[in-house]
Amino acid sequence: MIAAHLPALQVVVPLLAAPICLLLGRGRWAWAFATAVSWLTLAIAVALLSQIGNGDLPGYAFGDWPAPWGIEYRVDRLSAFVLLIVSGIAAAILPYAWRSVAREIPPEQQAIFFTALLLCLAGLLGITITGDAFNLFVLLEISSLASYTLIAMGRDRRALTAAYQYLIMGTIGATFILIGVGLLYMLTGTLNMADLAIRIAPLQESRTLHTAFAFLVVGIGLKLALFPLHLWLPNAYAYAPSVVTAFLAATATKVALYALIRFLYTIFGVAFAFDAMLTHWILLPLSLAAILSASLVAIFQDDVKRMLAYSSVAQIGYMTLGLALVSVTGLTAALLHLFNHALMKGALFLALGAVAYRLGPVRLTGMAGLGRQMPWTLAAFVVGGLSLIGVPLTVGFVSKWYLILAAIEAGWWPVAALILIASLLAVLYIWRVVEVAYFRPRPAGAEAVTEVPLALLAPTWALVLANLYFGLDTRLTVGLAETAAAGLFAGVAR
């Protein structure tokens, strides 16, 4: 009975929980409730994933309105995969939020904070599960508005300008997406994704379709922080509260990538998106530029959060590069990296959040000597960093392996070389931190710091261990990514 309604519950539970969170008032209760909800959403995602073992689920018709008219939710391998990582990250981060939020957010705002966080989560999950293009836009706006609020709650006053900057850029992106969806509706008279895919197939030469395509790709590109549309991201990540940075870095851009894949493969189809519109010739140079330029910029950052933010821009480049290779292996690599990067950046930002818990804003020089005083936190950072570099036995290696394999399969040697060069740039910016933390003494006069409480360490290490576990046991991730990618190429995924 309940099992049949899981697709709806996946979104409805956090959505309805959000206002209740607000009613619970200050601090502790709101946190406990939000945490329980996040675990429930993870349980639902896992349940959906186990149901999918027997093949794609049939569409879920909201309010029993049949598909092309009503809103339809659909779960296939791709969406189940993304639902799992988004809800998993939320379930890992919310326990962490208790101590971190208590330190960073004024008590009277804490209930609002958790409300916004749940709304953001609901929006992200909704984008992933919906089978309706307009519904996707609505949920995107829910998650975006919530994330502007969350970023603005940062302690630094620059968080306000960062949030404002993101608001402007994000709104432009959302508007573009709305225009694109509107044009599609005008052309076909439907908003259901599966229906859209069928109806636009014979309209390949339509100029309206081309325009819609352009608006959608650029609009999603903005939300995705695709180079050079990434300018909002470094500030937003750098000044947001620690929990928010970790959450958004691990989920928001991933869901945007999901939306891009959904539009390119399911709605427009490989033939139109790549053979006719040559999207890969746009994505390829932009991805490479993102990987190289953002990695280089990351090396010169003094604010460590900002450094990781630039690294995120580079890592998004890896994912879009996987798309640009237009092969099953390339798409597999992109999907794997979507999942794996969520784990690495989640772990890294949580570790930095633990440092921020003790030190406030995390500047590189301020981290001197922390290796001795906060051994567990810094060890988590090192493992996360190794994963980012792509050292074997971590998830980073798995995604890099597939990405290089895809490049070699395509015969694109220079691309493979650039991927490897960028990995070495990652060594540089991670090792700067390691050297400072382990080999420099604490600055004279700096107060002694101690290790952070278990409430912060446990979630951080949960993600670190996930980095190692999924680096060793790749059956779930590689299996899902491969079948999802093959399905998207065959056009049977939906």
């Binding site: 050292v391 290089i404 493979a416 070389a417 046991d473």
Partner: protein
Amino acid sequence: MIAPQIASQIPLALSLAIPLAGAVGIIAARRTPNLREAVTLITAGLLLLAVWSLLPAVLAGERPALTLVELLPGVAIALRVEPLGMLFAAVATLLWPINSLYSIGYMRGNREAHQTRFYVCFAIALGAAIGIAFAANLLTLFIFYEILTLSTYPLVTHKGSEAAVRAGRVYLGILIATSIGLLLPAIVWTWHLAGHLDFVPGGLIAGHLDGPLLAVLLGLYVFGIGKAALMPMHRWLPAAMVAPTPVSALLHAVAVVKAGVFTVVKVLVYVFGLESLQSVPSAQWLLYAAGFTIIAASLIALHQDNLKRRLAYSTVSQLSYVVLAAAILAPISAIGAALHIAAHAFGKITLFFAAGAIYTAAHKTEISQLDGIGRRMPWTMGAFAIGALSMIGLPPAAGFLSKWYMLLGALETEQLVAVAVIVASTLLNAAYFVPIVYAAFFRSERAAAGEAPSHGEAPRPMVIALTATAALTLLLFLFPEVPLTLARQLVES
């Protein structure tokens, strides 16, 4: 049939588990140094037993195998003991207990800090070396290769000084850059070509690729294996000399560098196949690259006054002997390559032990300070002389044997360049080792002003250790059956 297979799997699994368990035990015993050192010695002893218990089966032609976990579809982390890996593992584990004994003397004698971290990283590094030796496929080898790099980084930067951090940067920079930048794409390319990564006698990619591209792939492999220190990828090795001497002795004369040349030989034999390389003239460049490294490194060694740096450049040169011998592509020279892995290990660890003993007893690091020291430290310098003999390649030291096989191979295939390189470098080796021995025993001591030259021999454990390795160098010359059999199996398989 099943019973003996499982019986050989247990020591194989143990040889990875013991170093790991040892590392945990060392952490647990960190509060009581005596117990901690006992754990190290016991771990080293147990590992020796586990690895050596595999030897009879391997000599009898068995190939114990064990699959741990499937990492990617079609590629598992798996172990399979073949002759060359057996030889490398046997040498490394034989030297670890001796080196541990030496470490205890050295670390205590010099009052080094962070000894727990030192022993933990050492145990992990040894485990990684065993993993490399027994790897059944390229991916497993690559994984342990990277673990070895990362676990030795804290050992290189042990002192924590500015110089150590800078050296660590060179160390990690070169080793990671080569392995991720060159070796990893080579492995992925191999996977793309052959569809699997298992080591196959006769060559895993034989028949999948030929012509100049094969030479390119060879380049990716050989330079990607930075631990083999083929020029210009050798700079990390002299840099690593800032580490405490036991690290230089076991890791940067045996485990790490031998892992490098071992991988090169393994790649040549099991990935390319000697025969398929013979048919590609463009693959000849490796011979010249190795020859150049041998000569150039020897020339640099000649000009080093710092003893450990001179030894480091000597190692660079000696490592390329192994590469050269393998690149001659004759079976008999491949035997020489395998033997040299063992011979150089025993000789070079003796030399480093001696250097560390001199530093501990006399606090001297430069060669120019060593006049007359042989009379104060007769055991140390005696062992040094034996090690030097082995480096030069004179009987009755083990280095003679491997050089003999290399020369035979070079003559057999009429590679006159290789013959010339071996002869010239022998002279150079003599030129930079003989003066040290001469000065130590036959020059009179120069007493510097205000300095009381009152030291005697180094602490007892260190002297025992270096005497033992010197003895091994001689014993290997007298009783080379076991390594020879293993080496023959390598080329026959």
